[in-house]
């Protein structure tokens, strides 16, 4: 391989990035050293196994990645704003949409989702941690260092440029030599292994760690959505791992899985990657559905409508989504019967999804709707997702898809479900649970500004793209109108779309501002129950103590906290005499971080085909695994006195034992 260009050169923008990366890193290092924060960072964050802290780290990284992916998006939109633009060269544009797609889905949506899993699920099911706290830390660090591996490709070695799902044979050595494609493989491989482990972790957490009195049928819908999503993760991430391994074998060992030569079959790549890729988009949208279920019930002051069919439809979506992957390549021509079967399976997904929408509507019906920030995002979600879903159903009609495929119609569809569904959903979740995790309510005024600029920006950006699709504009074009004198009239709509992208960017800036502002000046939440909530997480102080629940809560049915509050109000609530018992907690450990670092080293080595380094990294991984296996002193007990001390301190803050308003 040609490693002569270790540092990416030649583009002023990249030099700019180099300089700013160095400056920011220096600033961080100086800050940490000056304020003597290294020890704090190591003890409190890097070695932590506390699900809440891990959740916070996921949240921060995903917001960072939203920024990175968003900057990519804005660069693309600038390039496309006018025809025949020379802002970005072809290869550079290709790198940017590849990293945009990869980062947005794998390093923005996935960690945002895991942030919510971690911050909410144990609290909602009355557990003191996830089933495997150590593994949870491993998952986070694998994700984080995997993401960093892909991100450094921007300045070292060159970025991948074969599209976010890197179709073979374009992604093979013959057409994409150099480290870029390897960065893609190893970055998402490493973080994908982390995702798989998170899936196992949360399935077991939900099945086994609920407070003993909580039956599955009492479980809040967000936790159900996490279960459904995790089941889908378990079903497809192994395929992802294997498929990436195959491409690695092709590129590193000269194999012929997907090459044009040697009997390889590039179509097999397309087939396998979508077996993962399609369920992946439902993996990210299911938890958003869960978030909305919580929000709608809370802010309509009403029980969720049709709980049983809500649960059923989520499980149905996660299973049926396994049977639709061919809709991404109807045009490959696997056969009319194949297309028909998968077209119909795809449309079937619309049915349970629709049921969820109707149940949300009827949760609000005869309720009392409070329009708070989380609810605002829900109300933006409904029309947006309905339209995006409907265009999905249009795509699912196979012969019609022959006309939409790979056009801007498709781009508009998936941004509408990804932004309207996933991003709005997770942002709603962030607004909803922010007071729980940080004890701070986010500023309303700035929130409104952010909301409206996002909304307007979204429609201005993506509605024109449907039209562009009908005008025959295909995706992944770095320029248009430059050849042969075809002027298809794409220019005006592209310009509008770019304006929309900028508006969304402004919306994002408002959000960052909102968070920073609120941390400084925001309203503190001392009640622990910022929204008059219904589920267990609102029954404990905000932010919760390390062990979450001093005493495991007793649950008598759905919406446990809501009914407990009512009993408390009526005065019929029998408060049992508190008798604390020592609480069993896992110890912090540096091994997860070290293991992920070894993975990073291995990934970096293999990316540059420096075998010594790759193998050294892998050996490091095994050493950390063994070190863990020999560790017996992995947990401790929190003494009763300490629990009493903590609880008293928190109670004096005036939280849990207040009566409901």
């Amino acid at each position: 391989m040609d490693n002569s260009h270790f540092f990416v050169t030649g583009d002023p923008m990249i030099y700019g990035a180099d300089v700013s990366i160095i400056l920011v890193s220096l600033a961080i290092i100086i800050y940490l050293t000056y304020f003597k924060k290294w020890g704090w960072l190591w003890r409190e964050w890097i070695t932590t196994v506390d699900h809440k802290k891990i959740g916070i780290m996921y949240l921060l990284s995903s917001l960072l990645m939203l920024f990175r992916g968003g900057v990519d998006a804005v660069l693309m939109r600038i390039q496309l704003a006018v025809p025949n633009s020379h802002f970005l060269a072809s290869e550079h544009y290709n790198e940017i949409f590849t990293t945009h797609g990869t980062i947005m889905i794998l390093f923005m949506a996935m960690p945002f989702m895991f942030a919510l899993f971690n911050m909410v699920v144990p609290l909602q099911i009355g557990a003191r941690d996830v089933a495997y706290p150590f593994l949870n830390a491993v998952s986070f660090w694998l994700f984080f260092l995997g993401a960093m591996l892909l991100n450094i490709s921007f300045v070292i070695g060159g970025s991948p440029n074969a599209g976010w799902l890197s179709y073979a044979p374009l992604s093979e050595n013959d057409f994409s030599p150099g480290p870029g494609q390897n960065f893609w493989i190893w970055g998402i491989q490493i973080s994908g292994i982390g995702s798989l482990m998170t899936g196992i972790n949360f399935v077991v957490t939900i099945l086994k760690m609920r407070t003993p009195t909580m039956r599955l049928r009492d479980m809040p819908l967000f936790s159900w959505s996490v279960l459904a999503s995790s089941i889908a993760i378990l079903g497809v991430f192994p395929i992802f791992t294997a498929t990436l391994a195959m491409l690695t074998i092709d590129r590193l060992l000269g194999g012929h899985f997907f090459t044009m030569t040697g009997g390889g079959n590039p179509m097999m790549w397309v087939n396998l990657i979508w077996m993962w890729g399609h369920p992946e988009v439902y993996i990210v949208v299911l938890p958003a559905f869960g978030v909305f279920s919580e929000i709608v019930a809370t802010f309509s002051k009403k029980r969720i409508f049709g709980y049983a069919s809500m649960v059923f439809s989520m499980i149905a979506i996660s299973i049926v989504s396994y049977y639709t992957w061919v809709h991404h390549f109807f045009t490959m021509g696997a056969g009319a019967n194949v297309n028909i079967v998968f077209a119909i399976c795809t449309m079937i997904i619309a049915i349970p999804t629709g049921v969820k929408v109707f149940n949300w509507l009827f949760t609000m019906y005869r309720g009392r709707i409070r329009i708070t920030q989380p609810m605002l995002w829900f109300m933006a979600f409904v029309p947006c997702f309905l339209v995006g879903g409907a265009t999905g159903v249009m795509l699912a009609a196979a012969p019609a898809d022959y006309q939409y495929h790979n056009s801007y119609f498709l781009i508009a569809h998936f941004h509408q479900v990804l932004i309207g569904g996933v991003v709005f959903g997770y942002l709603a979740g962030m607004y909803y649970w922010f007071p729980k995790i940080f004890g701070i309510k986010l500023n309303e005024r700035l929130g409104k500004w952010a909301f409206w600029t996002w909304q307007i920006g979204f429609y201005v950006c993506f509605m024109p793209q449907y039209a562009l699709g009908f005008m025959g504009m295909t995706r992944r074009m770095y320029t248009y109108n430059s050849t042969m004198g075809w002027d298809m009239g794409w220019a005006p709509l592209n310009m509008i779309s770019t304006v929309g992208a900028f508006l969304m960017g402004i919306g994002f800036i408002f959000q960052v501002w909102q968070i920073l502002y609120s941390i400084k000046h925001g309203e503190r939440d001392v009640t622990g129950d910022a929204w008059d909530g219904r589920t267990l997480e609102w029954s404990i102080p905000s932010p919760p103590p390390v062990y979450n629940f001093a005493i495991l809560p007793v649950v008598k049915g759905r919406d446990a906290w809501w009914y407990q509050k009512q009993e408390m109000q009526k005065g019929s609530y029998q408060k049992e005499a508190v008798k604390y018992e020592p609480i069993h907690m896992p110890n912090n450990s540096g091994i997860p971080f070290l293991m992920a670092v070894c993975f990073f080293i291995a990934g970096f080595g293999f990316t540059f085909e420096w075998w010594w380094m790759g193998i050294a990294g892998l050996i490091g991984v095994f050493i950390t695994l063994f070190a863990r296996s020999f560790q017996y002193n992995t947990d401790h007990f929190i003494s009763v006195e300490e629990i009493e001390r903590t609880e008293n301190a928190l109670r004096n803050h005036g939280s849990i034992h207040r009566t409901a308003n």
Partner: protein, 299 residues
């Protein structure tokens, strides 16, 4: 609700700004039977989706307006009401019906498109090879080849046979019909037909790297006599595409429109086979050694 209105506004605005010129929306302006069938399905799916999506957005707006948490709101408030079998049956039922209807039409259209668009006219074969970053067309009957443009007779079904000697691409002429992938080692059939004389925009739709954005081509539909005349002309005037010439052509580059009076015998088959074609029974003849009549029989 505001967002719903907003989306409508944005949509209308979009339509206005683009000048309401339907001819720009080439997908919605098909000029051949294949494109028309697909257009019909598009319209059907829009209607079916609209039937359900628009009322739902309406209901949503109504509910949000009616059940606001305001002190003097007289609307009923039933915090414990969470189940109604009748309603649930309705909203499982309606989508099922819609999906069933759309499913039937989808299946029908899918099957229809596997057959030649008209039965009474003998089809012609055009072989298509996507290269980095250009399109090569070979005409097995006329033994001529072109690059980045294709001429076809209007009113005659054309069996395009697709392959690739580069990363997979997709062959798309929106006004004639939908696209299909061109894949190394495969020879896939695609029926298209132009009803009227005219020039149609075509492009590669599946990303193939650096020069991908420039892979646009022209499909020119002319009267049958003119088509024959054109072929004769090319046979007479144009240079020959030799093996070496093809080798050079297949290297990554951008090209203008080119014509060749002949090409090496079996070129297309060789391309398919060398990229793995030997491992598939090709259901679609590659167009070199068959007559049209047994192609019709197969379909």
């Amino acid at each position: 609700m505001q967002t719903a209105k907003l989306s409508l506004l944005a949509f209308l605005g979009t339509a206005l700004l683009s000048g309401c010129d339907r001819s720009k929306f080439i997908v919605l302006d098909p000029r051949g039977p294949v494109g028309k069938q697909e257009y019909n399905l598009i319209i059907l799916s829009v209607i079916l989706c609209a039937i359900i999506i628009i009322p739902v957005i309406g209901i949503f707006t109504y509910i949000v307006l009616k059940y606001r948490d305001k002190p003097n709101n007289k609307a009923p408030y039933q915090p414990e009401w969470d189940d109604n079998k009748f309603l649930e049956i309705i909203w499982w039922g309606i989508p099922i019906i819609i999906v069933a209807i759309l499913g039937v039409f989808t299946a029908k259209t899918t099957m229809n498109l596997t057959k030649p668009p008209v039965k009474d006219v003998d089809p012609i074969v055009v072989q298509v090879t996507s290269l980095d970053w250009k399109w090569m067309f070979t005409y097995p009957d006329k033994k001529i080849a072109t690059v980045n443009y294709a001429e076809i007779p209007a009113g005659v079904p054309v069996q395009f046979i697709l392959t690739s000697d580069a990363p997979m691409n997709s062959f798309w002429v929106p006004q004639l019909g939908g696209q299909e992938y061109t894949m190394p080692g495969m020879s896939m059939g695609l029926w298209l037909q132009a009803d009227k004389v005219g020039e149609y925009f075509g492009s590669g739709a599946n990303f193939t790297g650096k020069g991908f954005a420039h892979m646009q081509f022209r499909v020119k539909a002319v009267k049958q006599e003119e088509f024959n005349k054109w072929a004769k002309q090319v046979q007479k005037d144009s240079p020959v595409l030799t093996k070496a010439g093809y080798k050079k052509l297949s290297k990554p580059s951008l090209e203008k429109e080119l014509s060749f009076s002949s090409y090496p015998i079996g070129l297309f088959e060789d391309i398919v086979n060398k990229n793995g074609g030997i491992y598939y029974d090709h259901m679609n003849h590659m167009g070199d050694h068959t007559t049209m009549s047994d192609m019709n029989m197969k379909k």
